[in-house]
């Protein structure tokens, strides 16, 4: 089970080092305890659902003629807020740039930013899913150790 722990620790460290996660994610982890053992996964699952909805909305809004920059900005604002709340640093930063392009009513900039946002979000989601998978494997391994002889 040691190698699993090491894998988890390394992966988590890398996510922080590479800026996918910031201190706010650590705050979420601190809020998880015996009374709320799945808190992080619950919040992140909600974040995934919320983000995917917003990304879709932004995509559709950019296809409209004429483009409603105020509405797209509202979506970007929401995405920025939720990213900040869960510690999704890279996603949050792209949202900041996105909002600037919205304010400038720069369509090309917005389209580029949306692509970047989708990319960062995908990377974050995959990395987090792997993190949760490792945590689950450790849990399962721990359980089977206890039930053996």
């Amino acid at each position: 089970m040691d190698h699993l722990h090491r894998k988890l620790r390394d992966h988590e460290a890398a996510m922080f080092q590479q800026g996918y996660l910031d201190d706010q994610f650590s705050q979420l982890q601190k809020l998880q305890d015996d009374t709320s053992p799945d808190f992080v996964i619950e919040v992140m699952t909600m974040f995934f659902d919320d983000s995917e909805k917003l990304l879709n909305n932004m995509s559709r809004a950019l296809e409209q003629v004429p483009v409603n920059f105020k509405q797209i900005d509202a979506h970007a604002h929401q995405q920025k807020g939720s990213s900040a709340s869960v510690g999704a640093a890279r996603v949050k930063n792209v949202c900041g740039t996105f909002r600037n392009f919205c304010e400038a009513q720069n369509l090309e900039g917005c389209v580029r930013c949306l692509q970047q946002l989708q990319q960062e979000y995908s990377l974050l989601k995959n990395n987090l899913k792997y993190l949760f998978k490792l945590q689950q494997e450790i849990k399962t391994a721990g359980r089977s150790i206890h039930t053996r002889g």
Binding site: Q27, L28, L31, F39, H77, Q78, G81, A84, S85
Partner: protein, 167 residues
């Protein structure tokens, strides 16, 4: 000792999860709603009754007196903003003494000042952290002591006015 009851208001589902967990970790009893309108309903104030409401806030559905010791609300919400909600609370005879805290993801000094001037106790920048929530208890205790002081003063007054009967 009874727990303090905090009403949290935020239109973001993620922020609602976060604030609820933060408050519960600090041993508060928590009610979370997603709009200012729902907050006022919970507090027993329906919008058009604001001006002529009765001294006790009576929850519309349950006919009970709802006791809320602190309200913490997001600033940016569709429809009724946190600032609008703050104003309605401070304009209400039954609710104006409840401490109100505002949260916002944006650091706008004029916004912060406006809220503090309107009577907000604190203004937290999001994401809200444990260290922010730790700042809430003093505001709650202040209100409790104020109420207890009234009780003590009333008792003293009665005692002083009592004329001992002597033979």
């Amino acid at each position: 000792m009874a727990q303090f009851h905090v009403l949290a208001v935020d239109d973001s589902v993620i922020d609602r999860m976060l604030i609820e967990r933060l408050l519960k970790t600090s041993s508060f009893h928590v009610t979370v709603v997603d709009s200012g309108t729902k907050a006022l309903k919970f507090l027993g104030l329906v919008e058009d009754e604001v001006r002529n409401e009765k001294p006790h806030s009576i929850a519309a559905e349950t006919d009970q007196v709802v006791e809320v010791n602190l309200i913490i609300t997001d600033y940016c919400m569709p429809g009724m903003t946190g600032y609008d909600l703050l104003r309605k609370i401070k304009e209400s005879n039954s609710l104006k003494d409840i401490p109100v805290v505002i949260m916002s993801s944006e650091n706008v000094p004029s916004r912060i000042n406006r809220c503090l001037e309107e009577g907000a106790e604190e203004f937290f920048l999001k994401p809200v952290q444990q260290s922010d929530v730790n700042k809430l208890k003093p505001h709650l205790l202040k209100t409790k002591v104020k109420n207890e002081d009234d009780l003590i003063n009333n008792k003293r007054r009665i005692h002083n006015n009592a004329i001992p009967l002597k033979n």
